[in-house]
């Protein structure tokens, strides 16, 4: 048993080296396929993160009239928060709004002096407001409907400009992301098909090259598995080498692009390398298993057809 196992591995290595250029071409195609798949995974991650960042920034503002008391606003806040669509409601008092504004423009004397002139008798200028965040971007329309039909509608103004701007941005992001994903899926599919056809043809060529040996092996009583398994091991070797090359290339690629990606997400900690590190087994082992499985099926069909075992 051990002798046969060692011999099968030996024959697989012989097959690999005897057709080294064919092996290199196969590995190259598999590397390209796996690289594109990983690129797509990285891109999906980036797009999802970008959309999430934009979503985080979106809210709908309710600006109350000066005469509405803070107790009333709190009551309205609690009422609104009961809605299924709402994730969070933040109360910003007129004092908080003012101090926030002053803080942000502390270095601009013109704005601060203009602000002081506009203040009313109580020293206030801004209305108290509620910042409403939805559980999901798609729920803002329902929230706006609820607010427009609210019993307190005449106590506040709805500022949906920010939401509309972000909504447009998110839709564009979705749109771009979906297009790139679609192109990525199509390219991946094409490369997977090419890789499988290459594997099939490699077996076809290998069986043709080894036809004398295979014929003699069959003649002298070698079992079908003894003839078949070296070819399958050879195909698995292609997959394994391709995986190792892809891991090296893809991590090199990530280390080059990650500083640029990090600049895009300055306020939100996002480390694409850490993501791949954390999911290394799932991503790369998963890819190896799936590709190896398809390759083995493809080569088994070729073996059955060309050497009738």
């Amino acid at each position: 048993m051990l002798t046969s196992f060692v011999r099968v591995i030996k024959f697989a290595f012989q097959g690999f080296w005897r057709n080294i250029w064919l092996s290199i071409i196969n590995i190259t195609i598999l590397v390209l396929t796996l690289f594109i798949i990983n690129f797509l995974i990285g891109f999906n991650l980036l797009a999802d993160n970008a959309i999430q960042v934009v979503n985080e920034k979106v809210d709908v503002g309710l600006y109350f009239q000066q005469n509405v008391s803070s107790e009333k606003i709190t009551e309205i806040k609690n009422k609104i928060a009961e809605s299924y669509y709402i994730k969070d409601v933040i109360y910003v008092s007129s004092e908080d709004a003012l101090s926030d504004f002053e803080e942000r423009h502390a270095s601009d004397e013109d704005i601060i002096s203009a602000l002081n002139e506009l203040k009313n008798d109580d020293g206030q200028i801004f209305s108290a407001s509620l910042k409403i965040k939805a559980k999901d971007m798609a729920m803002y329309d329902d929230i706006l409907d609820e607010l427009k039909n609210s019993q307190y509608r005449d106590l506040f103004e709805i500022d949906e400009m920010e939401f509309q701007d972000y909504s447009r941005m998110t839709n564009r992001l979705y749109d771009i992301s979906n297009r790139v994903k679609l192109i990525g899926y199509v390219i991946s599919l094409i490369f997977i098909m090419i890789a499988l056809m290459m594997v099939y043809n490699t077996i076809k060529i290998a069986t043709y090259t080894h036809r004398e040996e295979i014929g003699i092996m069959k003649l002298v009583g070698a079992t079908d598995n003894f003839i078949k398994i070296p070819f399958l091991v050879e195909i698995l070797m292609y997959n394994l080498i391709a995986l190792i090359v892809v891991v090296i290339l893809f991590y090199t690629f990530l280390s080059i692009v990650s500083p640029f990606i990090n600049k895009l997400f300055t306020d939100y900690p996002f480390d694409i390398i850490a993501y791949f590190n954390h999911n290394f087994i799932l991503i790369f082992l998963g890819q190896f298993i799936i590709m190896a499985l398809f390759s083995v099926i493809s080569s088994s069909i070729a073996i059955k057809k060309f050497i009738k075992v």
Binding site: T3, E213, G215, I216, V220, G221, A222, T223, D224
Partner: protein, 226 residues
């Protein structure tokens, strides 16, 4: 040893390569099968080694019904049958030792055993001093002896030689026939398919003559009658 009953093989569109052939071969016999090209000799050999399946009839080897042999059983049948062809079927990139050892390697035999058996077999066929030679460095007769050595590594009870002297001159042919007779003396059943009238006539062994997919003559000490 071999029991063949009403064995037929039909090829589309309308060729009966074998037509109700019946033949019994006893253990230890030396049987020559003769006949012109296309009379079904090679088809019969292919069926004995389970390279072709019969259309109808029964074929038993050592009590083993191989008419409906399962594909996973074929390797085990072939380990019990040595086969030699006219074109030797040697691997050009392997030397004599490796060509013979390859048959054992392919069947999972351990290296130590291969190292023991192969020199013994090569001694029997007289190639003990040419183990390192490659096929292109050998004469036709030596190549055929290498092929015979390879067919003997499993110590088969049956040796089938399909036109073993077809590519050889008369001296080399004689050597190969002598070797087959020697193997037969070790109680191995030998079936030889041949066109060589002189050799068949010199053997004084059983001769089965085929024509048009049928056995037309079966003589205990026969001659080439066509």
């Amino acid at each position: 040893m071999i029991k063949i009953t009403n064995l037929s093989k039909f090829y589309k569109p309308n060729v009966w390569a074998l037509n109700k052939v019946s033949l019994n071969i006893k253990s230890g016999e030396f049987v020559s099968i003769v006949g012109q090209s296309g009379t079904g000799k090679t088809t019969l050999v292919k069926m004995i080694i389970a390279d072709e399946s019969p259309t109808e009839g029964l074929l038993e080897i050592g009590g083993w019904d191989i008419t409906n042999i399962r594909s996973y059983e074929i390797p085990y049948l072939r380990r019990q049958i040595g086969v030699v062809f006219q074109d030797y079927k040697l691997l050009p990139k392997k030397n004599v030792y490796e060509n013979v050892g390859f048959a054992l390697e392919s069947c999972g035999v351990k290296r130590e055993r291969i190292e023991k058996i192969v020199p013994q077999i090569l001694k029997i066929v007289g190639l003990q001093n040419k183990m390192d030679r490659y096929p292109y460095q050998l004469s036709g007769g030596e190549q055929q002896r290498t092929a015979i050595a390879r067919s003997l590594v499993h110590q088969p009870k049956l040796l089938i030689a399909d036109e073993p002297t077809g590519n050889l001159d008369s001296i080399n042919s004689r050597e190969i026939i002598d070797l087959l007779l020697k193997i037969n003396d070790f109680d191995t059943t030998v079936i030889m398919v041949s066109h060589n009238r002189d050799i068949i006539n010199s053997l004084s062994k059983r001769v089965v003559t085929m024509d048009d997919g049928k056995i037309i003559s079966d003589q205990i000490k026969g001659r080439y009658i066509l």
